[in-house]
């Protein structure tokens, strides 16, 4: 190649180098923003999934605790529909007692107070008495757990809290592993 061609090559190289450097810096900012936004979004979504599972367990434990209190009250107290209704209402409305029981359970399980507070921010279970029809009452005793009490002419005929006694916690509460990170 002669000198002139090398000169043209050098000029073209120079121009391309400048263009590529500019392009590189432009991309750098773009990728940085994209990566940060992407990580934030996907980490946030996963943390929300974990929180939902923990809050789900918290509310279920609340129902579980209320259900045992109700069973205990039913076994030890008057076996009438009126007494049962009063117990359901009393147990459900005593939010301080519910929180105290839950907090005790979580402390017994070695869950630190700060972590408990974060989970407890979701509040207590919204439901306890699920069904009340013709003397048949269904009580929520946790996620996928229902206890049934049947009354005939105002008297307790049958208490079915087998689901509560046989409740398998590990089968009801779990968290899936995080998905692979996606960067578009």
């Amino acid at each position: 190649m002669d000198k002139k061609k090398f000169k043209i090559l050098a000029i073209v190289d120079g121009v391309l180098i400048v263009a590529l450097v500019v392009f590189m810096f432009a991309l750098k900012g773009k990728y940085n923003d994209q990566a940060q936004a992407s990580v934030k979004e996907q980490v946030g979504a996963y943390k929300a999934t974990v929180n939902t599972a923990l809050q789900d367990q918290w509310k279920s434990m609340d129902q579980y605790g209320m259900a045992w209190k109700l069973v205990y009250a039913t076994v030890t107290g008057a076996k009438t529909e009126a007494a049962f209704n009063a117990n359901v209402q009393k147990i459900f409305e005593d939010k301080d007692a519910r929180f105290k029981q839950l907090s005790y359970m979580y402390t017994a399980a070695s869950i630190p107070a700060q972590v408990q507070n974060d989970i407890a921010a979701v509040g207590l279970a919204e439901q306890f008495l699920l069904k009340d029809e013709g003397g048949v009452k269904e009580i929520a005793c946790g996620k996928n757990c229902v206890a049934k009490f049947t009354f005939v002419k105002g008297k307790l005929k049958e208490s079915d809290y087998k689901a509560l006694v046989e409740y398998k916690f590990a089968e009801n509460f779990s968290i899936g592993a995080p998905a692979e990170f996606k960067f578009e």
Partner: protein, 164 residues
């Protein structure tokens, strides 16, 4: 340096910068992936641990509740209670307090119950004192009314003084 050398150096530099541009995205993806993995793994493990600790602890709580409710319907004496305890917790036994006419069963330091009996019976042959006439069972600890006791691990095989 003549123009030939300059143009060769610039060409090499151009190839190098082009390679940098191409690798740039990969670097950001690697960094982001690493950060994502680290953060979500911590969240996953922390969450799993909480679920597991609560599940395991409440498994014991459930047995104590079930035992208490069954006891209220079937138990009359401290011997009956001891049999029921053995059914639910084969390795843990309760203990009678003859003076207080109570029997305490502690599944863990957090979860215990105290059964109250009506009277003390004495076997005259061997002077063995037992309790009879179950009146009530104090389930305060199951209702969260006892001073909070934190369990690091579920003690197994914990035995107490037995008097039957």
């Amino acid at each position: 340096m003549n123009i030939k050398n300059i143009s060769i150096v610039l060409t090499v530099l151009l190839v190098f910068i082009a390679a940098l541009v191409l690798m740039q995205k990969g670097n950001y993806v690697d960094q982001a992936t690493e950060h994502y993995k680290k953060t979500t793994d911590a969240s996953f493990k922390g969450g799993q641990k909480i679920l597991e600790y609560v599940n395991n602890s409440v498994d014991v709580n459930k047995l104590v509740w079930a035992m208490s409710v069954e006891a209220l319907q079937t138990v009359k004496t401290s011997q009956d209670m001891a049999k029921l305890e053995a059914k639910y917790f084969p390795t843990t036994k309760g203990s009678n307090s003859i003076a207080n006419k109570t029997r305490r069963f502690e599944a863990t330091s957090a979860y215990f119950i105290v059964s109250n009996f009506d009277k003390v019976d004495e076997d005259k042959k061997n002077n063995l004192k037992t309790l009879s006439g179950l009146k009530s069972i104090d389930v305060g600890a199951l209702m969260g009314e006892a001073p909070v006791a934190q369990e690091e691990e579920m003690p197994e095989g914990e035995e107490e003084e037995v008097e039957e």
